[in-house]
Symmetry: C2
């Protein structure tokens, strides 16, 4: 089903949930949000009314809208609105190999699985097939914004830009930058830093021509990681950053062997983070994927440069990289978002990433015997939802635009629906289980007004089936029964 | 949809996958398995034929069956047969609170969440509602055998037995035994060890009357854990074990605080495991849930008594209990199965438990710097699938009957279906994504003959949507489009 022609004005009615702070969700019951579908913005909010109908009437009156020109979306029992997810670190090109980890750690997995897969994108037709599947899939999981890496291939990268624009997923598109033939395979390596810059520029110009104001798609500068780029390429990318202030997604200290290799390659730098800093790539728009094995000194430097971190718990477990310390980074003033890191992360789902963020933090806690210390590393359900929305918005520099429900923000949102198990009428629930399209989250009668519980149930057992509708910038981009 | 009337004979055609050893899956391509639906048994196997049709003809000829009296189930592209999952540790009564962990560790979570929930089952109508939802749900995830704990309530426990028999899920039903009022809340505590034994006996007799040969449902003796039972109750349960050799599910060394409390309560025992041994409960049919924090000496004792372990990785992470060392237990000769441990485990899915078993083992590996040592703790995809099938069968004492595809075993199986992304015809795939009932596992054209990859993709991204059909003892018990 394609997104239907949207009307010019919508009113969303029901219960709204979003992050108020890192630690706290805000619940707005029986509320209404009015959306201008043309510019995609929230134009008014009626917070916590006595009924959905009263919220609607108040909005119509205040805005001088007549009901017949407005599309109404109304929550049913077990449904609520939640901000769209922001995936701060994801390799679109690796979508076909999600779950394939026969090689056991980062470097051997890159050589054995990832590079041969990325080579396929020399064929732009393969790119169109896979990228389309990837964007449809991530939209279906409620990912309204994604910071994508592609491959070195220009036509394939342009194809991803086209598809994001067509399917309307807000996206940063980073053509993978790699020109260091000491590390990169010959079939996946720009011949010189000049070629790297030229091809990167070609993609940037293409995206700028398609979406000059970066309403939906934005270009990014994506040096794969310190070993994949020559010093000269890193310096030149830094120059491009200074001129254009684009997002700079890259990888940092994912795995011990990688950290060791970087130290051997750049012995004078003193730390992995310092390598990026030395070449001018530790910027306020740099998004450092992983950052599992960073020192206190590196954390200070990241904070000083206002660089950001993308936490990728699914990947950190699947590739045996380790457990990143999110609370520790927060305590040092670093902004952190969440990334699926497909396909180091095995899942396209940000909800899965949020769930793993909780679980890994609890395994970190299990290593400590002091209860107070344990509480300092645990991530709560509200905290991981913050990472997945407002935290991510800050990381990609869009916190003025997305991540929560406020007037003048864009309407990037999901309608979440959970199963209601009626105390009588079990048959309906059983049919739903058989049909399989209502997901695994069952609300029993006594759950219905306990919002913290409903949200926790969703985070622990939810999946794409619970994302009933997804909007980006005021328009419906995904819908299921 | 209820299971249709099964015909007397079936032939399953296609590709079959099951565990050959702990480390190795066996793939049988273009094969056929003939099933006598009346006694539920596999009567013949035609392994790796040149085509499904030839496999069918060979079976019909050998068995002197005519095609028109046989129901044929045939794999489509992306489909294969796999043994049903065996959940060796699951609390049916906790199904309504999956994902609710506001209290942060075992003991406080038991008091704050679990006990108040278990109290609801005093009302047998609540039990019928929840247990029905639970059994439907776990069947839909391919769980063909479950070792269930209930609560102390007799009518509610009988209700679970009735429901498992009706919906035909092979189940061990353990009425929860707890009579120690130093630990158990007054509303959830048998008044004496005599009452505990009487009520347990009443449930056993009920199950024996409903299913005298334990074809589908079997009673179990379920001392909750060392702190919940009085020494006299444990001794008397041991006497019942000696007379009846029923399964004895219980908990062991889940969490450090619990281990400490047990040590303080039984200072003379010397170890948690020794407590059970002292009261005659460390038997060859004892299934020790968790066993996260056991010593070398305890492992030796478990091995000596031939007791079994239920590994519960979802729960061990969610409750911050720690990481159980499965490979270490295997190396010491202990049989290990897999448990969801709902709702310490947040998910009803054994596939999720298998996935978490991989992920947690990789986080264990990440703590080691020596590559050879890392390889000794990593669990592979074939290994976790062994835990979920043959390993579990051994743990519950049914390895002669279920866990793999061999002649004279019962047909407890799943038909797994993954999405095939056609190189052209993307629309079909997109429709499937929209409808949401085909799940998240996408096979691209180049995946199609790589069976290790297809299985890994299923383990990492599969869910109940991939369990298209589920059979227990030769009869179809769950089906979806």
């Amino acid at each position: 089903m394609n997104a239907p022609e949207s009307p010019q004005k919508s009113i969303m009615l029901g219960d709204f949930v979003h992050s108020r702070t890192k630690n706290k969700l805000e619940f707005m019951y029986n509320s209404g949000i009015a959306v201008n579908n043309e510019n995609g913005k929230i134009v008014d909010i009626e917070n916590s009314s006595t009924s959905m109908d009263i919220a609607k009437q108040k909005l119509l009156q205040r805005l001088h809208w007549s009901e017949d020109e407005v599309e109404i979306y109304k929550c049913e029992p077990g449904q609520f609105f939640f901000p769209g997810f922001i995936d701060t670190h994801v390799h679109a090109s690796q979508y076909p190999i999600v779950g394939l980890f026969d090689e056991r750690s980062l470097i051997s997995w890159l050589n054995g699985r990832v590079f041969p897969t990325e080579w396929r994108y020399e064929d732009a037709e393969v790119a169109r097939q896979v990228y389309r599947a990837c964007v449809k899939r991530t939209l279906s999981h409620g990912t309204t914004t994604a910071a994508y890496y592609t491959t070195i291939h220009v036509p394939a990268t342009k194809a991803l830009a086209d598809i994001c624009l067509e399917l309307r997923q807000r996206a940063f598109i980073g053509r993978m930058c790699m020109d260091n033939n000491n590390f990169c395979p010959p079939y996946l390596c720009d011949k010189s830093s000049q070629e790297l810059i030229n091809k990167t520029t070609e993609v940037i110009e293409y995206i700028n021509s398609k979406d000059p104001d970066h309403e939906i798609i934005s270009p990014a500068l994506a040096p794969r990681f310190a070993l994949a780029c020559t010093p000269s390429a890193m310096s030149e990318l830094s120059g491009m950053y200074k001129a254009q202030h684009l997002l700079v997604p890259t990888h940092l200290a994912e795995n011990r062997a990688e950290v060791k290799l970087v130290a051997e390659t750049f012995p004078e730098a003193g730390s992995y983070t310092k390598v990026y800093d030395n070449y001018g790539l530790l910027t306020p728009r740099t998004v450092l994927g992983h950052s599992v094995h960073i020192t206190e000194g590196e954390a200070s430097l990241i904070k000083k440069r206002q660089s950001k971190v993308a936490h990728c718990p699914c990947s950190n477990s699947a590739l045996a990289s380790g457990m990143a310390q999110v609370r520790w980074m927060w305590d040092r003033g670093i902004d952190v978002g969440l990334g699926t890191d497909m396909s180091g992360g095995y899942s396209p789902s940000m909800l899965e990433a949020a769930r793993q963020a909780v679980l890994v933090s609890r395994q970190l806690a299990a290593q400590l015997s002091d209860e107070a210390e344990r509480q300092k590393v645990n991530l709560s359900v509200p905290q991981v939802l913050y990472l997945a929305t407002r935290g991510g918005a800050k990381v990609v520099g869009l916190d003025e635009k997305i991540g929560g429900f406020e007037r003048d923000k864009d309407w990037d949102a999901q309608l979440i629906g959970l199963n209601v198990v009626a105390s009588s009428g079990k048959t309906e629930h059983e049919n739903a289980v058989e049909q399989g399209d209502t997901g695994n989250v069952d609300l029993f009668p006594w759950d219905m007004s306990k919002w913290d519980d409903m949200i926790a149930k969703w985070v622990y057992n939810g999946d794409d089936r619970n994302a009933k509708k997804v909007w980006v910038k005021g328009q419906l981009v995904h819908s299921r029964l």
